[in-house]
């Protein structure tokens, strides 16, 4: 085990997998300079054939990444901020998510789109979105949202060894988070397997991405009030490990979901709906969601803080649930 930051863990995953499979290529805007640090050093190591800066041309980038993957070249397409995925959405939504089905299963699509998500550093409304709800609705693309360095490395390595299109979303405010990471070259984290960060008996908290750390802190505060929290990080939203979540709620009878995405049609509302369907008779209180409201993110720091989930909001929602 070695201690590293989340972006370093992604970087290590790229290095290991690109060494292991010399067919993998990576391209994107400014990947040589590497704004977030995750692609740092790759160009020097692997050269211009496999690591390429692109123009600011997201339509071409996403479409070409899918075409290259379809032709047998595993491709990492770095989109920098997730909002830029929206300017290249055709390649993701109409091509990557649909081509395997449209070709009757002929196409294998080893393409991984990488982008940073989330607000909290006053980057304004067009660099602050958490758009995985849109991607979850596409039907044919996997979504990873790691919250720890170990999960980031293992999920990236799994994506690069697989043959399915994947959107790998890096919660930007978590990029500098340090944690222990395995050095085993075959350390992989499976898709569709939630991580139970702590077991508990009174309430289940499901937290996604940037909300995982908030939920850890909330669980500590709740423990001081005598509330035993079972804390679950789904890690991947497609596939989503609903079995683990539903089993936990059947045990605790209470659920709070913490998710930085806007509330409407969010991962949180989807999880709430699934639990409502499958564990209704176990629920002892209404399900609570701690999410962002259905508006674009403003710039001023105090407003961002007011709108985003935080440990206090998760504790408040949990206490309401406990009173229910």
């Amino acid at each position: 085990m070695v201690k590293m930051r989340l972006t370093q863990a992604i970087n290590a995953a790229y290095f290991e997998e690109m060494e292991r499979n010399e067919r993998i290529v990576l391209f994107g805007e400014d990947v040589e300079v590497s704004m977030f640090g995750d692609t740092r050093g790759l160009h020097a190591k692997f050269g211009s054939k496999r690591v390429r800066n692109t123009p600011i041309s997201e339509s071409a980038m996403t479409g070409m990444a899918v075409g290259a993957a379809m032709a047998g070249t595993p491709t990492i397409c770095h989109l920098m901020f997730s909002n830029f995925a929206l300017t290249g959405f055709d390649g993701i939504a109409n091509q990557a998510a649909k081509l395997r089905l449209m070709t009757g299963g002929q196409a294998r699509l080893p393409v991984t789109f990488v982008a940073a998500i989330g607000a909290g550093t006053s980057t304004g409304a067009q660099h602050s979105d958490t758009p995985y709800p849109m991607f979850m609705n596409l039907g044919g693309i996997n979504i990873a949202v790691p919250a720890t360095p170990a999960d980031a490395k293992g999920l990236m390595k799994s994506a690069l060894r697989g043959f399915n299109p994947t959107i790998f979303l890096l919660p930007r405010v978590r990029g500098a988070t340090a944690g222990e990471v395995s050095e085993d070259p075959d350390f992989l984290v499976p898709y569709g397997k939630a991580s139970v960060l702590q077991e508990g008996t009174d309430i289940t908290i499901v937290a996604i991405g940037s909300c995982v750390n908030h939920a850890v802190r909330a669980a500590k505060a709740l423990k001081e009030d005598g509330v035993s929290v079972e804390l679950i990080d789904p890690r991947t939203l497609v596939p989503l490990d609903t079995d683990t979540i539903v089993a936990s709620v059947r045990k605790t009878g209470r659920l709070v979901v913490a998710d930085e995405a806007r509330d409407r049609c969010s991962a949180a509302s989807h999880i709430a709906a699934v639990v409502g369907d499958e564990a209704f008779s176990s629920l002892r209180a209404p399900i609570k969601r701690v999410t962002a409201p259905n508006i674009p993110m403003p710039y001023a720091p105090a407003l961002e803080r007011a709108l985003l989930p935080d440990p206090e909001k998760i504790v408040a929602a949990a206490m309401l649930t406990m009173a229910g």
Binding site: R23, V25, K49, R50, R52, T54, P55, S57, S59, A60, T62, G63, M64, A65, V66, G67, A68, A69, M70, A71, G72, T73, T75, D90, G91, N94, Q95, L99, R100, L101, M102, T103, G104, G105, Q106, A107, R108, G139, G140, N142, G162, F163, N164, Y191, G192, P239
Partner: protein, 335 residues
């Protein structure tokens, strides 16, 4: 900026011309069958036919092997057959059968045969441009001399992805041939009303070898494609061909059912019928003494038998089951 000339006096020779005539006939007769099936209500979905445009697909694909890639559009039956796809798998697919090219899950607008390097017709008119450019990148990295071709129309030329891909393809010297099948219409709108300037000039602006040719002259398309594809194989970068043509059928076969007024004149269509690439090539072969009236009848009979067999195959095939769907979303993962 001076750009390499794509003109050359290459000629395919009579035997190859005859094979290409037969391939064009197969496309035409297959699509006539699908058009009839559409109008009779036998098809579950719509078809966009390429009648009149066959020479471009056939002449370009004559230079390609199964290891080369072709990306196409919603009007992709011709590209599918020109790239070596079978009439059986095409007709069965458009009829929504499990024996179709895509198991009946794709339909007319998504006919794909990866075993032939046909990476798909695409319901997004410029979608195939990005996919073909990506396949060209894959070919470049693999370093085996493969090339990729994107076929698209004048309508798709105004999607941003073409400009983005031309820029990247020139910068990266991708082994890519961009073929604009200029049929004068962007769905139901005359091209002149939706496309400013000359489309070929857009390609020239990126510094790409570019030619505007008569797309209904199979030999002209063949000669220019020969040079462009040879350049791509040698690592000399992308080229652009604007092939002027015309679709003799509508944007989609069902359009007569909803159009309140025609958007193009019968005179215009009749005028283009006189420039139909199929009789034109047949006449040329007769002039070369490479083909007789009896030969043409034999070609037609072969093609008619192939289409008839393919249709019977489609009729006798089963529709796809749900299991095929569930195994065709992800690899080794249930949706």
């Amino acid at each position: 900026m001076s750009q390499p000339d794509l003109h050359h006096n290459f000629t395919p020779g009579p035997e190859r011309l005859k094979a290409m005539l037969e391939r064009m006939l197969l496309i035409r007769r297959t699509e006539e069958q699908l058009g009839a099936d559409s109008r009779s209500g036998e098809l579950p979905g719509n078809v966009h036919l390429c009648a009149g445009q066959e020479a471009i697909a056939v002449a370009v694909c004559d230079h390609l092997s199964d290891d080369d890639y072709v990306g196409s559009t919603h009007r992709g039956h011709g590209h599918f057959l020109a790239k070596g796809g079978s009439a059986k798998s095409l007709i069965a697919e458009v009829h929504g059968k499990s024996s179709g090219a895509c198991g009946g899950l794709g339909g007319s607008m998504h006919v794909t045969d990866l075993s032939k390097g046909m990476i798909g017709a695409n319901g997004i008119v410029g979608g195939g441009i990005g996919l073909a450019a990506g396949a060209a990148l894959s070919a470049q990295v693999a370093g085996q001399g493969q090339v990729a071709v994107a076929f698209f129309g004048d309508g798709a030329s105004s999607q941003g992805i073409l400009s983005e891909v031309m820029n990247i393809a020139v910068l990266w010297k991708l082994p890519l041939l961009l073929v604009c099948e200029y049929n004068g219409y962007s769905e139901f709108s005359a091209s002149a009303t939706v496309n400013a300037g000359e489309i070929a000039d857009r390609a020239r602006a990126f510094g790409m070898p570019t030619e505007v040719i008569d797309g209904n002259d199979l030999e002209a398309v063949w000669a220019v494609a020969a040079v462009a594809i040879d350049r791509a194989r040698k690592g000399e970068g992308p080229s652009f061909i604007e092939a002027k043509t015309y679709r003799l059928r509508g944007h989609l076969e069902a359009e007569d059912g909803f159009l309140q007024a025609p958007y193009r004149s019968e005179d215009e269509i009749d005028q283009w019928r006189t420039r139909d690439p199929i009789p034109r090539l047949a006449q040329r072969l007769v002039e070369l003494s490479a083909l007789t009236a009896t030969d043409i009848e034999a070609l037609e009979a072969n093609v008619a038998a192939e289409v008839k067999d393919a249709l019977q195959f489609a009729h006798e095939s089963e529709p796809p089951g749900m299991e095929r769907v569930l195994s065709s979303v992800f690899v080794d993962q249930r949706p």
